[in-house]
Subunit: 216 residues, 4 copies
DNA sequence: AATGAATGAGAGTTCATTCAT
DNA sequence: CATGAATGAACTCTCATTCAT
């Protein structure tokens, strides 16, 4: 069932195989339910070799998180061309995001579900990546607001909250799209933009939603 | 630290104590990391009693999920008065949602984080509740669209995607608010409405966001 | 091979059985070579029960050391009657010591061989016991010196060195006697006294041994 | 921290480096706790080379014991000049013994502590060396007795017991001196002679210690 | 209604040891 | 002469679960 047993590979290659197996196992079973035995078997090596190269279950998990986080941010970065208008950049980034999470569902599960449910050290790793993405979105929203000639700048913390909500919605949609057969990455991206862009646009125009009046 | 040891209580009461302890433990440690020992001690009873009343760890977890899901939907339902306008109903429901998740962070963790990371049987329980809420939101959006005199009804699946996105954003914000000191339930609710309502409004007017043209 | 399997015993009894098995195993195999599996089997219980009652291998070993140290000091104390002359007390104590170490060779091995070769925490336990015994011997030697009308008191540190040597010789002889078939406790005790007492007597008289002159 | 990595050395030299590393590691950690990894690293070679030259952990340990035993007996032999009087020879031998054990504490630990706590094959190696030393001391005592014109020879087994006690005391003192900062080899030697010689002298005069009369 | 006593099964981890080069 | 790559077997420890009272 595991990978074909190929003997005597250089360390770097074996390590990647192990990380592949680990991401898959952690992503599907969860951190605690995943056993090192299963990972080793899936990687086609013996358990001691996993320990020799990656030290411990914690370290292995951390390595998975780092690799997947790097791959995800890199995918988004690669999808965006800095010279274009802000809405275009956002749209490209969103597409790249959903394409990547659809392509690597286990990696996404590791990042979004597993890492955040198993203690500070792991959550912190993801938080760093998330912060990068939120900052990227925040910058885009600010630029877009300026492009829309909005004069008094949006208050910073409001922008932050919105970026947070946008990223949160994206994360939820990614998980939902992976779990729902028939939903493509492009559809998820369109849904998100439809849902979010007008709200952002309104805000950028200064139109703020206010709670309906209390009824008698 | 556990509950005060009071002997000989009626079964119904003991069961609630156990569920309290279980929700707290599962919410904080996660399903796998939580041990029946810890739960029993926190509940102030012996382990065999937990098994006598709740059969197994799986059953106990399922019972937690059901209780918390029921409490959450009930809280939302109780916050909404059916006669009022759709936007009002949505606002009230959203507020009730965030108030409840803020009040019972461990319950929310069980529903949103733990149950969805540990296999079908548990995920299905939550999915049922979620479906209920999504349906509720979908209904509201449809009603609002009619109230806005939108003639050709919104295509159903588009509405579904939007409700999904709205609920997803709400879930993310709830988790974020619980993890971020200083963010109140009301702030979370306002952020969500600001973010979402205008997008929904646009859609209801037939204004759809379209991807920017490809650059040459 | 293990103890007869008797079910459902009160905790205190089981604990003693476990300590019996542990002392025997540690004494014969050494701390590291002894496996918890073997100890559990010899005690006639399952491994988890050993851990439930005694926490860890380290704690189990410490418990063994403490029990054996207490038993040994108690045996020596019980053998000595405080009112009698110093030489008599020493003789009685020495006899009790060898009798006890001969009766419990594994306990003696745990104290003298194993505990001292496996790190500070364990060595310290034994050092405490040893200090008690050395102090006891030191007191006796001082009293004997006074009884022998030796006027200028023996320098304290010289007495300490001698007590150390005496106890060291006793320890060596105990191990030797246990390992040499045909050597009884009484013979070991006589050998020690023959070997040591006259030297001590000389010292108490002020006769000190001096190195022979360097030859040309 | 390990030895400087020098490549391509003749086998004999490499072997000594390995033994150095092994003695140090075994002496400090104990036989079981010492790992072949650590020894190889400390020796500055790869593990397979250790196996190539020394076959197994057991064989390596045996080699350590043999080398250290040979070094110790050789040191004692070299310290003694056969022509001199018996007491002089003993004094010289004792001094050489303490000087050597102080100079090589790890070697002494291997011989006295580790080898005797890990099964017959190893204990036997040390027993052989010990027998040699005991025999040497026995011979000296016998000679001294003759020199002291003691007519009816000392019974052989009594002499053996005494030699045993003397060697045992020496061993204890050596370990104690190594573990106690501020105690020099010479002090240890003096303490031993003070403690032992008079007792031996008494015996050689036919004066034997007898147990005090039983009290009423 | 409630529990002290007990365990089978499996987790993560480490070690002495060997190929293939 | 020397080693990077690899493993079988064993270890300590934990957990969900049950029996006898």
């Amino acid at each position: 069932m595991g990978a074909v047993k190929t003997k005597r590979m250089p360390r770097a290659v074996r390590e990647q195989q192990m990380l592949d197996a680990a991401v898959r196992t952690f992503g599907q079973r969860g951190y605690m339910a995943a056993s090192m035995d299963e990972i080793a078997e899936l990687a086609g090596v013996s358990k001691p070799l996993v320990y020799l190269y990656l030290n411990s279950k914690e370290d292995l998990f951390t390595a998975c998180i780092r690799r997947e986080a790097a791959a995800l941010t890199e995918a988004v970065r690669a999808g965006v061309r800095p010279g274009l208008p802000a809405d275009r950049q956002l749209w490209d980034g969103v597409q790249a995001f959903f394409a990547h999470t659809a392509e690597r569902p286990d990696g996404w599960s590791v990042l979004h579900l597993q890492a955040r449910t198993h203690g500070e050290p792991f959550a912190a790793e993801v938080a760093a990546m998330r912060a990068e993405i939120v900052a990227f979105v925040t910058r885009l929203v600010a630029v877009a607001a300026r492009e829309a000639h909005r004069d008094p700048d949006l208050p910073e913390d409001e922008v932050a909250g919105l970026a947070e909500a946008l990223v949160g919605a994206a994360e939820s949609l990614a998980t939902w799209a992976n779990a729902t057969p028939g939903v493509t990455a492009r559809q998820a991206a369109l849904t998100l933009m439809n849902f979010a862009w007008a709200g952002l646009g309104d805000l950028m125009q200064g139109r703020v939603w206010t709670p309906p009046a209390e009824p008698v």
